[in-house]
């Protein structure tokens, strides 16, 4: 049996399996950020004037903003001029079916295990694949269309459903929300758009798969999900990137709107390239995700498994505006090597009898630093609001850090807010117990970690749960505290 130091070294040296690049002809905008860049992107996407104006407004806001300083890590210097804001696989004409997609591209997605091929009915997941900045294929479109569900790339939505985009774009995350959201609003090139009409339950999981391929590009996609009255959808998001020595920026925005009695479940398995064991390279994952429960009895649930990125910085939030609305946040964040995760949520209770539940599990190994940062805010009109928060941290090795920074603001005396947090390591007694039953130490650790994260993994849709569980055991294979 290996001793614990060997095992910790093992974790540290674990290779990233999605680090390959795809050799494909790309159209890349020159590096740099200016109004011209924005006009270039907007023109490329053939956008209406109002959208261009909105982008320019966001750019003006971006220029006025400073980098935030409240985070619990040293903010890297990001040279916004040294990034290319548009990269797309070169294509000559409009694609009508998957057969016309570059086979090199299809091979890439096959390598990642993403079923783009509609013939493979077994998975029953509709996928929108975003390669660098552009959506390359959306599957099951026809079937969804019969039900009135709109699931397409953002660019397509702008062309075909401008009224919906205009109504909801920026209504949850304003163009001037924070510096990265402003940057995204100015330069976003594509993303996914979902609209579920009144009373419709989406018969399948909708999924987006993001891949950064080109060098020196940033990925700035934007997702907008609208669930009309009584609608339901479960949405999945996955991501990978090639292994490179430079850091790449990913600044996405996700907006969710639920109307009366609607429900949206949003799951993420984030596995961007985390950098090597000395912290070289990796993705800066600075994402703004926010949902608003606008209607009464509506519900938004965020589930995330964060194992990649050199820095993860995101706070999927829910604004509970409608009475009796519900917000949920389930998170597992793993940091190892020199990875940093500063993640958590915001639950803003505005309506009566609103409920929120936060379960956050942090796992730190190697030199990883893992922070939970969350806000629970009870407004003066949120009668009988209820929040429960639990954030646990697991430390593997003595070089890592685990931190909790909750903010609790209560302005209503009928509200009940509870928060608890614990920090611990994997107990030697637990390992011993499993050893005594013939389970070797590596498997025992995998078992314990999976048990620890179970509460969150259980929230994931089946296909994702299996993937996430595998990812977790690969990431932390054989760790002994």
């Amino acid at each position: 049996m290996k001793n614990s130091n060997d095992i910790i070294d093992d974790i540290a040296s674990k290779e990233y399996e999605f680090g390959f690049t795809t050799d494909i002809e790309m159209e890349i905008a020159p590096k740099g950020l200016s109004e011209d860049t924005i006009r270039f992107i907007s023109a490329k996407k053939n956008e209406p004037e109002w959208l261009l104006q909105w982008r320019l407004k966001a750019y003006a806001a971006f220029l006025k903003m400073k980098m935030p300083a409240w985070q619990h890590f040293d903010m890297p210097q990001i040279d916004f001029q040294n990034v290319s804001y548009y990269a797309a696989p070169k294509q000559k004409k409009q694609l009508n079916s998957l057969d016309e997609v570059d086979p090199e591209l299809l091979a890439t997605f096959a390598k990642l295990g993403i079923p783009l091929n509609e013939q493979k009915m077994m998975t029953g997941v509709a996928v929108d694949a975003v390669f660098d900045s552009v959506s390359v294929a959306t599957t099951y479109k026809g079937k969804l269309k019969e039900l009135g569900i709109i699931f397409c790339s953002f660019g397509e939505a702008v062309q075909e459903h401008p009224e919906l985009v205009k109504q909801y774009l920026g209504s949850v995350v304003p163009h001037s929300d924070n510096i990265f959201a402003a940057l995204n609003a100015a330069v976003f090139s594509d993303g996914s758009f979902v609209y579920i009409p009144k009373g419709v339950r989406s018969p399948m999981e909708l999924s987006t798969y993001f891949r950064i391929n080109a060098e020196n590009t940033g990925q700035f996609e934007r997702t907008l999900i609208i669930a009309d009255d009584d609608a339901y959808v479960s949405y999945l998001e996955g991501c990978t990137a090639p292994q490179r020595d430079e850091n790449q920026l990913h600044a996405a925005v996700v907006e969710i709107v639920t109307l009366e009695r609607a429900e949206v479940k949003y799951s993420t398995v984030q596995n961007w390239y985390p950098g090597d064991k000395d912290g070289k390279g990796g993705i800066y994952n600075f994402v703004t995700k926010r949902g608003i429960c606008r209607g009464a009895h509506s519900k938004i649930s965020w589930t995330q498994v964060e194992t990649g990125s050199s820095i993860t910085w995101k706070y999927p939030s829910v604004i509970l505006q409608g009475d009796h609305s519900q917000g949920e946040f389930y998170s597992v964040a793993v940091t190892r090597n020199r990875q940093i995760a500063d993640t958590g949520t915001k639950m803003i209770h505005m309506g009566k009898n609103t409920r929120s539940r936060i379960i956050s599990k942090g796992i730190s190994a190697g030199h990883g630093d893992n922070s939970y940062r969350g806000l629970v805010k009870i407004g003066p009109r949120a009668q009988s609001a209820r929040n429960f928060t639990q954030c646990d941290s697991l430390l593997i090795g003595d070089q890592c850090g685990a931190h909790t920074f909750p903010y609790i603001e209560s302005r209503n005396n009928t509200a009940t807010v509870e928060h608890e947090a614990t920090t611990s390591k994997i107990g030697e007694d637990q390992i011993f117990y499993l050893n005594a039953r013939g389970i070797d130490t590596e498997k025992a650790v995998a078992l314990i970690v999976n048990g620890y994260a179970k509460e969150v993994l259980n929230q994931l849709p089946m296909e994702f749960a299996v993937e996430a569980q595998k990812l977790l055991s690969i990431t932390l294979e054989g760790s002994v505290g």
């Binding site: 003595d398 890592c400 931190h403 909750p406 903010y407 603001e409 509200a415 509870e418 920090t423």
Partner: protein, 436 residues
């Protein structure tokens, strides 16, 4: 944090500094000047500073205050309201931070030194420790105190001396027709194997004026020593109190800090910072705040686990009435070498009015893996079932509520080891709870 807003108070201090400096006692000039430079760099905090996010201290500094380096005259009869019935203790009276020998009863024990800090200025111990245990880098008010403190007490308990009775330290504040800005500074050193209990209280005798008190207390608890500090904050209406308590513990030492903030001072900000520099220490920090009217109570605590095998235990409870506002920030920092640390923190609140407001930030920052750390936070109101139960047994609503508040506070009050002080606090809590 830079001073983005220059306020009249800030300008008054900066402009008057050379003159104020002449009025300060003791020979601490280099320390004072360095601290003042620090204060000017930091400026007065705005709500943009993370530490002052929920407390807009500018609101409480709007009134004109006058730098008050002198003591007023106080007679024995004036002290009556602050007496604690049945408390058998030595007594030290400070008026505006200045030691009053005629009103004090000091212990006649060999090895116990109690004198004004200014008089102790030449002692090597004072030169060695004063200003060395506070984080001036990010504490503008502690820096301001260091620059311009005028009173305060030096207490030293020699090795192996057990002080037989508690010391009742009464801080009296007076004003005459003017708002007074008062800055007491204490340095307490408890040597190896020694033991000391201090009960500290406030008596505001201000006449037609508001007091603004910015105090700092530095304490060193040496090896295997034990120190209990009961801080009772029951000041008069309108008073504004900012206090920084920094304690350093050496190995095997035990420290018990009790903080009771009761009505009616309009603003109280307590910073408690405990640094554990030795192995096997024990620290208990208990706090209770009961606030009514428009009181603003802000407690910031910081426990720094620097060495292995230390235990810290923190429990702060609050009861908020009327439009009271409370802030709690608790931070536990566990250094990488501080293995086998046990650190617990809990903040619980009862909101008894729809206008009351609580902001809490219980924080853990952990760099060691073999530790047990937890924190918790709750906020709620009366348990309606408990209330119903009591009422169905013929107990009136007001009495029932008092019982429930008493039960909520019991976790803290029960830990008070001096019966007279315990009774005093319990009766004060009862008086404070009037629910409209």
């Amino acid at each position: 944090m830079t001073n983005e807003v220059t306020t009249p108070f800030y300008n008054y201090i900066v402009d008057g500094f050379p003159g104020f400096l002449d009025a300060t006692p003791g020979n601490f000039l280099p320390l004072r000047e360095e601290a003042f430079t620090r204060f000017k760099t930091l400026g007065l905090p705005t709500t943009k500073a993370e530490d002052w996010r929920y407390t807009n201290v500018q609101l409480f500094l709007k009134d004109p205050f006058t730098f008050s380096p002198v003591a007023g005259t106080v007679t024995e009869t004036q002290l009556a309201p602050a007496s604690i019935v049945g408390l058998d203790a030595y007594r030290v009276v400070l008026v505006n931070g200045h030691f009053q020998e005629n009103l004090s009863t000091l212990p006649a024990i060999k090895g116990v030194t109690i004198e004004p800090l200014a008089a102790a200025a030449t002692r090597p111990l004072v030169q060695e420790h004063l200003g060395q245990h506070i984080h001036l880098q990010d504490q503008p008010f502690a820096a301001l105190n260091t620059a311009l403190f005028t009173g305060g007490l030096f207490i030293e308990v020699a090795a192996n001396v057990i002080v037989d009775k508690p010391i009742y330290l009464l801080n009296v504040y007076t004003t005459t027709h003017k708002n007074a800005f008062i800055q007491p500074r204490n340095l307490w050193i408890i040597h190896t194997n020694a033991a000391l209990e201090i009960v500290e209280s406030v008596l505001d005798l201000s006449d037609n004026g508001i007091v603004l008190v910015n105090g700092v207390t530095e304490t060193i608890v040496k090896e295997n020593a034990e120190f209990s500090h009961y801080n009772l904050q029951m000041a008069a209406k309108d008073g504004r109190y900012i206090h920084y308590t920094a304690t350093e513990q050496e190995q095997y030492s035990r420290y018990h800090h009790f903080n009771f903030t009761l009505p009616a001072a309009s603003f109280t900000r307590n910073n408690l910072s405990v640094a554990l520099h030795g192995n096997y220490t024990e620290s208990n920090m208990l706090g209770l705040y009961v606030a009514n009217d428009a009181q603003h109570v802000d407690n910031h605590t910081f426990v720094d686990h620097l060495r292995p095998n230390c235990n810290s235990n923190e429990l702060y409870k609050g009861v908020l009435l009327d439009s009271a506002k409370a802030v709690f920030t608790g931070r536990i920092h566990v250094n990488q070498i501080a293995q086998k640390t046990n650190a617990f923190q809990q903040n619980s609140n009862l909101l008894l009015s729809d206008k009351a407001d609580i902001n809490s930030q219980p924080q853990l920052e952990i760099y060691a893996d073999d530790v047990k750390c937890s924190h918790g936070f709750t906020v709620g109101q009366f348990n309606q079932e408990a209330l119903f139960y009591l009422r169905s047994r013929g107990i009136g609503e007001e009495a029932a509520r008092n019982m429930l508040v008493g039960a909520f506070a019991y976790d803290i009050t029960d830990q008070v080891k001096i019966p007279a002080v315990q009774d005093y606090i319990i009766s004060h809590i009862e008086e404070s709870i009037v629910i409209n």
